[in-house]
Assembly symmetry: C2
Homo-oligomer: 212 residues x 2
């Protein structure tokens, strides 16, 4: 993996494999930008990571996935919003965040074992343990599913995680600081269509405990 | 504003101006995809909306902003992750979300009044009321700030906000349902560099009350 130098806000550069992986592993929603007939397009989707690759999946008819395996260098970004930073001037007002921007190419995963591994990696990335609790799906459903592997060629990571900066010389006397933001899970809601609910699974319990 | 038809998951299509605006107004972080010398690139940034336009800002030297005003049709996406949907099979496992994908062109805002209006729209979009509590910045800081206006030409909106679907025929007896996810604010943290803290401002109090 090579790294792209951060030009704007170089103090926030956090270009290391460890940092890129930590940011990727902290979420499962990415935005994928690609081109189709010269037009820039972008779609949000779920991902899972293994080493320096991201696995994406969808229908075999999925427009984006089919564009991605056409050989183009696509761009994937993952951003976690961690807070609003309120300085003594609006100029120095900012946000706390962790973000990566990745460049790379994607290949269709053809090998059946790797396809299943890819699906497991995505599932376990969204909610750990669910893979062992429910079946993947029918044979036809699996046939209709496409898995692609995006290998990170170049990456950059930016992290800002502190209070206001840059307003040290300002003398207006006003509250300044930051408001931390976190993604929280609310109480899991059972599916009502099967009537009375079954005991909450371990994967759901664990996720809720970690994120409530 | 014209609308792009949703091909994958058309049941989740929510293509109306009202829906697009509601999704945009519920956040302030977008991903902007553009091209530079044929390469797809993407950067996350803050935005504010007025009617069918988004205002973005940054340094006059900001690479992305300067690419955006070069005449190309860029793509901006905003996605809110609202939950994890756990069906009786992994095939029907999904997420709840609200997302928009926008296509349009951006112009540099030259008019001084509109520049200030744009900055106010972005600021108020991030945290309402802050604009009146602190000064914008020095004359030099304002000179070094670029404001651009991205007008939405075509848009699509997708919303999924329900429990599992598609697993109606599955007979495996296991908990299924969804885990709602929400972005929460934690207690505001005063900036320590100015010594003892000033009373918390109304903008911060209100934001915290609404998001805690």
């Amino acid at each position: 993996m090579e790294f792209n130098k951060i030009i704007r806000g170089p103090k926030r550069e956090s270009n290391s494999e460890e940092s890129v992986y930590q940011i990727l592993d902290a979420g499962f929603l990415c935005h994928v930008a690609f081109q189709h007939e010269g037009q820039t397009m972008m779609i949000p989707t779920a991902y899972g990571r293994k080493e320096n690759s991201l696995y994406l999946h969808g229908s075999t008819k999925n427009f984006m996935l089919n564009q991605l395996v056409s050989g183009q260098t696509a761009c994937i970004s993952v951003t976690h919003l961690d807070g609003i930073v309120l300085a003594r001037t609006l100029f120095d007002t900012s946000v706390n965040y962790r973000s990566v921007v990745l460049f790379g190419k994607a290949l269709m995963v053809e090998d059946e074992q790797e396809r299943m591994d890819g699906l497991k990696i995505i599932t376990e990335h969204i909610i750990k343990g669910r893979w062992d609790e429910v079946p993947v799906g029918s044979e036809n459903e699996l046939k209709a599913t496409m898995v692609i592997k995006f290998t990170i060629d170049r990456a950059s990571a930016k992290i800002r995680n502190e209070g206001p900066k840059g307003d040290e010389e300002k003398t207006n006397e006003v509250w300044s600081g930051h408001i931390p933001l976190v993604m929280k899970a609310l109480t899991p809601v059972p599916d009502e269509k099967f009537g009375s609910s079954y005991p909450v699974c371990e994967s759901v319990k664990n996720y809720y405990e970690q994120h409530k």
